[in-house]
């Protein structure tokens, strides 16, 4: 009975040979972290124990060893499995612009907004400097 249960437990960990060229292997590893396993919930193929992920890893190593660029590897997987497979969505189109541009756009808008608002205001009135440690032994209330 126990044996039966344990034999059901076959989450396959494929044994794969790393590439001999360490630089190419490092590049392949990095790509494997960017490509999503199509059979799992939310895992890159670098982590997944699913069989398909093993096949996908073999393909990444194969393409890298044949001299494909990172972009070519990503493009191959995208054409084969769809956009879904890329954990690093391509920066193209309106959605790419929003996704990749928005964080830095908000930062720029926020920073310039603050700068303009402060420059206007700090022109008027005296500003008194109070050192940070003034409050180290502040007794709490003004009373």
């Amino acid at each position: 009975m126990k044996e039966l249960f344990l034999s059901l437990l076959s989450f396959a960990l494929a044994v794969e040979e790393p590439l001999v060229d360490t630089a190419a292997e490092a590049r392949a590893q990095k790509l494997m972290q960017e490509i999503r396993c199509v059979a799992c919930e939310n895992e890159p193929i670098s982590q997944s124990a699913a069989e398909i992920a093993g096949t996908m890893r073999v393909k990444v190593r194969e393409m890298v060893s044949e001299g494909a660029s990172d972009a070519e590897v990503r493009a191959w997987f995208e054409s084969r499995y769809g956009e879904f497979v890329l954990f690093r969505p391509p920066a193209r189109g309106v959605s790419g612009l929003v996704l990749w541009g928005l964080p830095f756009g908000i930062l720029l808008i926020g920073a310039s907004g603050i700068y303009l608002a402060r420059r206007q205001r700090s022109g008027s009135g005296e500003v008194e400097a109070v050192s940070a440690e003034t409050f180290d032994h502040d007794n709490g209330t003004a009373s």
Binding site: F5, L9, E34, N42, I114, D136, N139
Partner: protein, 650 residues
């Protein structure tokens, strides 16, 4: 009897309604009394729920679905909140708990403000209890009762995970009281230095457990999932990171409000948003729009109700904010090059970082609405979130000594040259001697820079080393938190940049070389626990004169029909040697076992760093020592209770 618990929850709901009524009418003593009653009643209710789990009363539907007689006692108890309904009951208990905590600790001398805050917290408790009783009822019976329960998700049967949810809830729900204080302050039209002084402790009371809760979750993921990593930018992790980031921004902005009276509107907004993001997290995790180990019960109705709650409470508070914010008084004047300016930069970056995490988390969901299937994962966050935060942290040691109002900047060029040269040398050594990728080399230098900055600032504050110990606890809190951040970054970048991973297949007696260790498979044996069977491998690890035994195993929980990985971790000064057992395969008549072996250098820095941040937060909560020095900036407004505007019905 579960019916007693059910009835008690209804009574707690009634008490919360009365608390809201009295609170909003300005009657603090009655609101406090009602909060205390609600806590006692809800405590009884939760106690009966736990008792049903401990006694394995499978006539209670929730127990039948989530427990099992063979489960160890600790996980029977923890199983109470290891499911949707039970965790909502815990949520309600914590909401009410914060009411009572607030009723005791809130001593501002402004009775009406305190009463209104308790009233709003009562309204949050009312909403939570109504959701519990009408959409997630844990107290329902099952007829006929099954003889055995279905068991708790085995992944959750783990000590770290037993306390991870209560910690997270203390954090999420802790922000509910901060929200209540902000709304009450806005209603009164007074978000000032008094308000900030009263509120800051409550922000920390939420931020510290949230920090601990997230760290426990990360640590659990590290040793339980068998993937070697600790943070995966999973939507569920992001859901907890967003309120943490906003809470961190709030911790900094509220200092400005407390010391100078400035940033009042922004601080109030952050206080409202921190709780809104906690609710958003609950919605994302529980509605089933994200699938994960946390999506216990995927139910669109529950999701819609959570979203409705978020929109109702968040919308009301934001409306209140829009109405009141323009009339808030501004504080002392300040220029851009000042402590205020530096903290504003901190807040800007933390807010943008939060938005970045939000975009990355929601983007795939929004794309799905338009019919596109896409993924946003770790590479996105590493290219957006990480550089943003890195830029902020580079600046931190430079500006932390700046004065309020106007900083007098007189750089110490000699020190700058020495530190710059040392950090440059660190980067070069990391790049060319230790062969780290550039990001990791830069991160290492950044971590050291933060440690240096934290140390330098604490010495500057003390002026002479003998005064170090008499510095206020908050200064030490800041020092620990910033130093912890430095250690965290060092651990994170080294682990990510230099970890080593291999999958090997061994027959008994075979050996393999990994990261300088020779691993020999001694044997794989079968084992048995209270509610599981296992295969356990014994690996003998040898490196020079060092020897260790690793026993990674795989467990199978028949009740839940689910396997789990139990990793084996050998800690050393350099890092963790980490092994997970994979499957068995037969090749040419030989039985081979696959192992995934990792070497994770300096990973403990990650967890130790976060622990230090939480400790810093705890220290920052300590009250100031009373000393009769005059505050340079007088606190505006009366410290004495203001006249009551409505009649007290006491």
């Amino acid at each position: 009897m579960i019916e007693t618990g059910h009835l008690a929850a209804f009574l707690a709901l009634a008490a919360s309604v009365v608390q809201t009524w009295y609170g909003l009418r300005g009657n603090r003593p009655m609101a406090a009394r009602m909060a205390l009653s609600a806590l006692c009643i809800m405590g009884i209710s939760f106690f009966f729920l736990i008792i049903s789990f401990v006694a394995s009363d499978f006539s209670v539907a929730l127990v039948a679905e989530n427990s099992h007689t063979l489960k160890p006692l600790m996980y029977k108890i923890a199983g109470t909140w290891g499911n949707h309904e039970g965790s909502m009951a815990l949520w309600c208990l914590v909401v009410i708990g914060f009411s009572v905590f607030g009723a005791i600790r809130l001593q501002t001398g402004r009775t009406r403000f305190e009463a209104v805050a308790l009233g709003i917290q009562g309204a949050i408790a009312t909403g939570s209890l109504a959701y519990l009783l009408f959409a997630s009822n844990p107290f329902l019976r099952l007829d006929p009762a099954p003889l055995q329960g279905a068991g708790l998700n085995p992944l959750l049967q783990d000590p770290a995970l037993a306390i991870h949810p209560p910690m997270l809830y203390l954090g999420y729900v802790g922000f509910s009281f901060v929200f209540a204080l902000a709304a009450a302050g806005l209603i009164e039209g007074r978000i000032d230095r008094h308000w900030a002084r009263a509120t800051r402790g409550f922000v920390l009371a939420a931020w510290v457990p949230l920090t601990v809760g997230i760290a426990l979750g990360a640590y659990w993921a590290y040793y339980e999932l068998g993937w070697g990593g600790w943070w995966f930018w999973d939507p569920v992790e992001n859901a907890s990171l967003m309120p943490w980031l906003l809470g961190s921004a709030l911790l900094h902005s509220i200092i400005v409000t407390e010391k100078r009276g400035s940033f009042a509107a922004w601080t109030a907004l952050l206080a409202v948003l921190a709780f809104c993001f906690s609710l958003l997290g609950a919605f994302l995790v529980r509605s089933g729009v994200l699938t994960s180990v946390h999506a216990f019960a995927v139910d669109p109705l529950r999701g819609s109700l959570l979203l409705a709650g978020l929109l109702a409470y968040g919308g009301a508070a934001l409306g209140l904010f829009a109405w009141r914010a323009p009339s808030l008084r501004s504080g002392a004047a300040w220029g851009l090059m000042s402590r205020e300016g530096a903290l504003m930069l901190n807040n800007l970056v933390l807010a943008v970082a939060t938005v970045t995490v939000l975009i990355g988390t929601l983007f795939p969901l929004l794309a799905e609405v338009t019919g596109r299937q896409m993924s946003v994962g770790a590479p996105y966050f590493n290219l957006t979130f990480s550089p943003l935060m890195a830029a902020l942290l580079v600046v931190l040691p430079l500006v932390q000594s700046w004065s309020w109002g106007k900083a007098s900047i007189s750089p110490n060029w000699k020190l700058a040259a020495i530190v710059g040269a040392l950090l440059g040398a660190t980067i070069l050594a990391a790049l060319f001697v230790f062969k780290l990728p550039f990001g990791a080399a830069f991160g290492l230098a950044l971590g050291l820079w933060l440690l240096f900055g934290a140390g330098r600032e604490v010495f500057r504050r003390a002026m002479v080393p003998s005064r170090l110990l008499s510095l206020p606890a908050r200064v030490w809190g800041m020092t620990f938190a910033h130093a912890g951040l430095g250690l965290f970054i060092i651990g994170a970048v080294i682990e990510t940049g230099a970890s080593y991973e291999r999958t090997i297949a061994l027959a008994e007696g075979d050996s393999a070389e990994i990261a300088g260790w020779t691993l020999t498979l001694d044997a794989v044996r079968s084992g048995e626990g209270p509610n599981w069977y296992s295969d356990e491998g014994t690996l003998l690890a040898k490196s020079g004169s060092k020897e260790a035994v690793l026993t990674p195993s795989k467990r199978y929980y028949p009740a839940a029909r689910m396997p789990t990985t139990e990793t084996a971790i050998m800690k050393s000064l350099r890092g963790d040697l980490y092994a997970a057992l994979g499957d068995r395969r037969v090749v040419d008549g030989r039985t081979l076992w696959t192992f995934r072996v990792y070497f994770n250098p300096m990973i403990d820095f990650v967890f130790f760093g976060v622990a230090l941040m939480a400790l810093g937060g705890g220290l920052a909560m300590m009250p100031m020592r009373k000393r009769k020095t005059e505050a340079k900036v007088p606190i505006e407004g009366p410290a004495t209770p203001e006249p009551q505007r409505t009649k007290v019905i006491a």
